[in-house]
């Protein structure tokens, strides 16, 4: 019965997203549509990063690196898979969808694996080492992609055809993935594992004394967070016909940190708001490009001094609406 309800729910959500897509594609200009897509990608990035930076209390400042890994591997796998899958299923929307989603999953897989590689040495130690290692990782990945000739070096990877990567990314796929990742990370955060992660954030030594496998949980949370960045990278790559190493500079990681800090470290709805905020404010500040990072930097410092927990803190929006303020994520009330 529960399974049936879930299938029905998923189908409804997908139908709603499809309906919205039809509406958005007819109702908005191409420019606005692009901002909406970017906002969706940002939400995936922010919710993913929030799992490690907010919920677990570790600090990654190189998530652009994982996004880059995801973008490049999704683009590469997508190009290489297109021919065999089109041969098997024939050309058409179904085959495209299969190729695209397999490519995104490949992006998530490779980003997740690099998350494991980066996380394992650094997460055994205190959180601030992770900051430095991820910062270094973000730079190294960019250097590697800059020098990888089979991925187009500094000019970027545009696939094998002269028209660039196929632009699979549209409203439906972005928001289907947004929904999937938000639900997944929400369920994880409010599960028993999620409460262990919160315990690590609040007091790592106490959590360890309570027999929480801190290192293992931190590494798992980090890998999931990296995989989410990988999906976002894959969506981003297929939105603009190619991936360039320059798209994943340190500024990108800073954008992500601004997203989760504005909304509130540890709050999923805060991360969603932050993702949308950054997408919109980047567009509004387009003419002020050179002042953008100065303003972001000041915003970070002022928020840290005045309201270090961010707009929502660890609270969720729907908790506020219900006028309940649980201090920590609560267990689901219904029993299974």
């Amino acid at each position: 019965m529960r399974a049936l309800v879930r299938v029905a729910l998923t189908a409804t959500v997908l139908l709603v997203i499809y309906g919205l897509q039809v509406g958005v594609e007819h109702g908005f200009t191409e420019y606005v549509q692009r901002i909406i897509l970017l906002a969706g990608i940002n939400v995936i990035l922010a919710v993913g990063l929030n799992l490690i930076n907010g919920t677990t209390g570790q600090f990654s400042i190189g998530h652009a690196g994982f996004m880059a890994v995801g973008a490049y591997s999704a683009a590469f796998v997508g190009v290489k898979l297109a021919a065999p899958i089109h041969a098997a299923l024939g050309p058409g929307a179904v085959a495209d969808a299969v190729v695209f989603n397999l490519a995104l999953l490949a992006g998530a897989l490779f980003a997740g694996i690099s998350g494991l590689v980066v996380g394992m040495p650094s997460l055994r130690l205190r959180g601030d080492y992770l900051a430095v290692v991820t910062l270094g990782f973000g730079e190294i990945i960019r250097i590697l992609f800059n020098n990888a000739t089979f991925l187009g070096s500094a000019t970027g990877y545009f696939g094998d055809s002269p028209s660039g990567l196929p632009e699979y990314t549209n409203f439906f796929w972005v928001f289907a993935w947004v929904t999937a990742i938000v639900v997944l990370i929400h369920n994880l955060t409010f599960s028993q594992t999620g409460r262990s992660l919160t315990a690590i954030r609040e007091d790592e030594i106490a959590a360890e004394a309570m027999a929480t496998p801190t290192t293992r949980l931190k590494v798992i949370a980090f890998a999931i967070s990296a995989a989410a960045a990988g999906i976002a990278g894959g969506l981003f790559a297929h939105m603009q016909s190619g991936v360039r190493p320059e798209d994943f500079r340190f500024e990108k990681s800073i954008d992500m940190i601004v997203m989760i800090i504005v909304g509130g470290l540890g709050s999923i709805s805060g991360a969603i708001l932050g993702g949308i905020f950054v997408a919109v404010s980047l567009e509004l500040m387009r003419d002020l490009q050179q002042y953008r990072l100065v303003l972001y930097a000041l915003l970070l410092i002022v928020i840290m001094i005045v309201r270090p927990e961010g707009l929502l803190g660890t609270r969720e929006l729907h908790h506020l609406l219900r006028r309940k303020k649980p201090a920590t994520p609560r267990a689901p009330t219904e029993s299974v």
């Binding site: 430095v132 250097i143 020098n147 340190f250 940190i257 990072l293």
Partner: protein
């Protein structure tokens, strides 16, 4: 063999610059347990202050005659830059770090990233994002030693760095403030109870660390010829890795780590590929975190509740 010796010479002079910057990281981390991400930007501001000070003191006139600055003017440039950076360091500490000092660890870390980002971008607005050619404060003299080309610039870099490090060592070991710094890094609460004005000591730690970074900035400008507002990012990171390699919180460790990172970088550039000279630092970081996270000269401290 001569090529090897050449790389060693270059590595030692580059490494002594890293060592100077690493000292600032390690001193602040030792006391506040904070990775001062803005330290790389203080290094950058130091280099630019030297650049403008040299310009104001008429370096162009000397350069036209193919001469460097006379010693007293060169020292003046160094002192101006160190003083300016010291003021900047104290200002950052007062405005950004002090309000969040008692907050959970992540808050000061994010603040530090914010300050670093702010200085980078303010630097790009103020100094223009284009690289600037560093004035020839010293005119280069080359000479050969056992087939290895040595320049007076490399020797000066090594010498100045060595003098400053010795000075720091004497300061930390012999003066009252130095002893107070060691007390703070041992236990800040106990130090406060013993009547040490912790704010004052932390302020002087920032001042000294920033001054050393500024000296590193000028030496870096002499060595690498060009400077730009983002120079602090990668150099700062490498210096931080040097501090971790030597054992963060340990002053001799920072010097050792800096020299080792400089050597590793030059040898990689010389024997593997210049493309990987920046990557080797992070390989070292990951190895040291895996094998000996307390660093080469660090002390293992058990974290207590």
């Amino acid at each position: 063999m001569t090529q090897f010796l050449q790389q060693i010479i270059n590595g030692l002079s580059l490494g002594s610059i890293y060592a100077l910057i690493a000292l600032g990281y390690t001193m602040v981390y030792g006391i506040l347990k904070l990775i001062n991400f803005a330290h790389g930007e203080v290094f950058m501001v130091g280099a630019y202050t030297g650049f403008y000070a040299a310009g104001a003191l008429g370096v162009a006139g000397f350069e036209a005659r193919n001469q460097g600055f006379p010693l007293y003017l060169a020292l003046l440039v160094l002192i101006i830059a160190m003083a300016a950076a010291a003021v900047l360091g104290m200002t950052i500490e007062f405005l950004a770090y002090r309000p969040v000092r008692s907050a959970p660890r992540l808050t000061p870390l994010i603040t530090a990233i914010g300050v670093s980002l702010f200085l980078q971008n303010a630097g790009m607005l103020l100094f223009s994002p284009n690289p600037q050619r560093y004035p020839a404060i010293l005119s280069e003299v080359r000479f050969e030693l056992f087939g290895v080309i040595v320049t007076n610039i490399k020797l000066t870099i090594f010498g100045v760095a060595l003098c400053l490090m010795l000075g720091l060592h004497l300061f930390v070991q012999k003066t009252w403030t130095g002893r107070a710094m060691r007390a703070l890094s041992f236990n800040i609460d106990a130090a406060k109870l013993m009547g040490i004005d912790t704010n004052r000591v932390i302020r002087s730690t920032f001042a000294i660390g920033s001054g050393l970074a500024a000296a590193g900035g000028i030496l870096f400008g002499l060595d690498q010829i060009t400077i730009n507002p983002l120079m602090g990012v990668l150099t700062g990171l490498k210096a931080f890795v040097a501090a971790v390699l030597g054992g963060i919180g340990s002053i001799p460790g920072a010097v050792l780590g800096g020299l080792l990172i400089g050597l590793a970088e030059q040898l990689t550039a010389g024997y593997l590929s210049p493309a990987y000279r920046d990557a080797i630092t992070f390989v070292i970081l990951i190895l040291i975190l895996l094998l000996k996270p307390e660093g080469l000269l660090g002390i293992v401290r058990v974290e207590k509740v």
